[in-house]
Symmetry: C2
């Protein structure tokens, strides 16, 4: 009996040993990110030297070249550009949003900006009475007779009592995305959308709209949350007030651009790919720090950490800087299309596009078995403060990989500050905390390591 171990006990010993060696490797990953990390200095360059990177802009082109160089300098096994045609929308000169003749305050200038992909009004602007609504149902109820020839003002706030701010965003963002076409169905001549901000703020939030087919395209602006409240209060006693707005945005022909891909080749199962990424494009109003410079540099950093540790992955690990998440998703779509053509096998995709804040966990989308396997690693993340592995979800850029059967994973940082910066002039480098950014990069690298070591089956 002396040399006999019950198989179950043997399995337990193996498991304990495996977890403890995983714990050691993960500790090394965090140490590298926190003590010798490069994510923060990468982000500083990307946001303050290059700056905004809207698809088709010079900044976007510069960021493609720069991330290619960065990954080459880190000596990844291969680095390449994947061509993709992207929409090219430009804001043009500063917008005007003006209450012309309110009884209480006379003429009032409001803080507004054009929504991305919107047509512009041109120099003649749009003038009209304002109809305030909270929902598309309100439009239906009011009907063409109350809307035709007017400007529709969508003013349903993000719900501040939601603990997850993305839930509050999800409850309000259809006004921005579809409001223009919904209002145009009833003859509206323009729309004003309350900014997707959860706090009282002075600055407007841009972001994409989509025009529905076979509906007239009308121009759309966002107004700051404080000025949305002001406009609403002026309308209360003065439903006949006139509003004027002027936008100079234009849509140009599609432009050539690229996803940027860096890869470390797998040593054992090189055909099994784990992709990690963020989007390289950003809105034009700021530096694209939290949206999504952080996701890009964290993805590069994850691979850099493996190189620095001398870790040779069994599977192929790819960092992808997707182009055009903000106003087209062309990069994510093209990446998946090329992958399907080549019959690649992506076992997992990890996306970081919720800002560079303190990590709280990962959202998961895939088979029950894959999700259960990832959840079995929870205890390895607890010492680093990641406890939330229950939410469903992946990310926009990796979502086109779903038909491959890829397990889709979203990096989940703390969400409280995100919508103070998202799509606004406030999304700048100084809003990113070095340690929060680094902890995120380490958390992503740790999960990639576990998937690489143990697979998802």
């Amino acid at each position: 009996m002396k040399y006999f171990l019950f198989p179950a006990l043997l399995f337990l010993v193996f498991q304990l040993h495996g977890q403890s060696s995983d714990a050691t490797t993960i500790r090394t990953i965090y140490d590298e990110a926190l003590a010798r990390g490069k994510s923060y200095e990468m982000l500083e360059y990307l946001t303050t030297k290059i700056g905004s990177r809207l698809s088709g802009s010079p900044g976007a082109a510069a960021s493609v070249e720069w991330t290619r160089h960065i990954m080459q300098n880190f000596d990844f096994d291969s680095v390449w550009l994947q061509p993709v045609m992207v929409p090219h929308w430009e804001r043009g000169q500063q917008e005007v949003g003006r209450v012309l003749n309110s009884k209480k305050m006379g003429t009032v200038e409001l803080n507004v900006c054009a929504l991305g992909n919107s047509i512009g009004t041109g120099p003649e602007g749009v003038t009209g009475n304002v109809v305030e609504v909270k929902s598309f149902d309100d439009l239906k109820r009011l009907g063409e007779k109350n809307i035709k020839g007017k400007i529709v003002f969508f003013n349903r706030p993000m719900d501040p009592t939601q603990i997850q701010t993305f839930t509050a965003y999800g409850g309000a963002v259809n006004q921005r995305g579809a409001g223009a076409s919904e209002a145009a169905k009833y003859g509206a001549v323009g729309v004003i959308v309350r900014s997707m901000g959860i706090n009282p703020e002075d600055y407007p939030h841009t972001g994409s709209l989509g025009y529905a087919p076979n509906v007239p395209k009308i121009p759309a602006i966002a107004v700051s949350t404080k000025h949305a409240d002001l406009l609403s209060s002026l309308l209360k006693n003065d439903s006949g007030l006139q509003f004027y707005f002027e936008t100079h945005c234009q849509i140009f022909p599609d432009a050539p651009s690229f996803n940027v891909v860096g890869q470390i080749n797998g040593s054992e199962y090189k055909d099994e790919i784990i992709v990690v990424g963020g989007h390289l494009d950003s809105w034009d109003l700021a530096q694209g720090a939290h949206d999504d410079g952080t996701g890009c540099v964290q993805s590069i950093e994850a691979l850099r950490i493996f190189k620095a540790m001398g870790y040779k992955p069994k599977r192929t690990i790819r960092a992808v800087m997707f182009m055009n998440e903000e106003n087209g998703l062309r990069g994510g779509t093209e990446y998946a299309a090329q992958s399907a053509l080549k019959k690649e096998n992506h076992i997992a995709g990890i996306e970081s596009d919720r800002g560079g804040f303190t990590p709280r966990g990962f959202t998961l989308s895939g088979t029950d078995a894959a999700k259960a396997k990832i959840r079995s690693w929870k205890n390895l993340f607890e010492p680093y403060g990641l406890t939330d592995f229950e939410q469903e979800g992946g990310g926009a850029d990796i979502s086109p990989l779903a038909p491959q059967g890829t397990t889709l994973i979203g990096f989940l940082p703390d969400s409280q500050r995100y919508f103070s910066y998202h799509h606004t002039p406030e999304d700048t480098f100084d809003k990113v905390d070095k340690r929060e950014l680094e902890l995120g990069a380490a958390s992503m690298a740790a999960l990639i390591y576990l998937i690489d070591m143990h697979g998802l089956k």
Copy 2:
């Protein structure tokens, strides 16, 4: 059998009902804080209209009067000032820290500030060679022959690989607190302490030192982390360089001040007190936002929320703005001393003094039974992101209540950004996120509610 319920089942029904009614009340608490909260506007006034509030300063006096008014305006059952004599230290004019004659760079000005409670050098300053050390053991090893007449430079960094930044702080702060006296034992004429910052920064961190009895008092300054690295690199090739520093700080006679107390009377067990507090004093270099304006306004907000909800507590609930946490702890000490004289019974003390960041949990210090009871409520906090109830600890100002048998509880927010602001000119209102602050206030109110409803026995 129809009307018969097994006692165990009955108990279960009661328990479920209890938890679900607690969950509903807690949801109402968070709704009030997030949708109609006052903590952010209170903090704006305290930090931007009053500003810094070092003990004995006009700002401290103004903040006493203002918090008294605020709590009276919220119609708490009683509001009073509790007198306490406090140390009165003043920084005086801007400090100078200067490398006089480095081989590599000649004269170099460094970013320094006097440590709180330090004596000043006066206009003649202190000049000397610099001995760099990492620990008190280094001092011992070097001995008087290498230290006498020189300036000791404590340069042990906070460990960036610690996930909890307070652990990193704990590993470095004895250099600031005791370094001057430890160096003076070997004849040093002054000390320079690497700032208690975890990142590379341009600005120094102040904070208290304590002089040991029967050791000569020597002046002490903090240097920014970047300039600590610079000084260290200059010393590497130039151990004979001369350093000059000049501080004009002075200690004045103790000054009269106050703790500010607001109370809602208990309806059932009025002699059982639950105290919640932060400290009203703050360092002179900034506005005292995260340290500890946030703790003060969160404590007031917790009581305001109960009033707004119409919740009548069974036990007496007190908000205390403690005076002089930073350089004396006189307020906390006096509060406990008065409480002991009056034979009061504090069943719990909750302190918020780790910044107004996203809540992660509470630290606990007390009997096993009390800690187990609080941990049994974990599931009620999970929907709000609080998952950490395992760490030991309370808080400085409530610690003198320990002999009463009070369960001591520390509000535990995310710690990553705290040491970028702590005791520096960066600790300003704009560094506080409205939602993070409000979630903290709600979390504190929720815990007070549970203790009030269910006790800690």
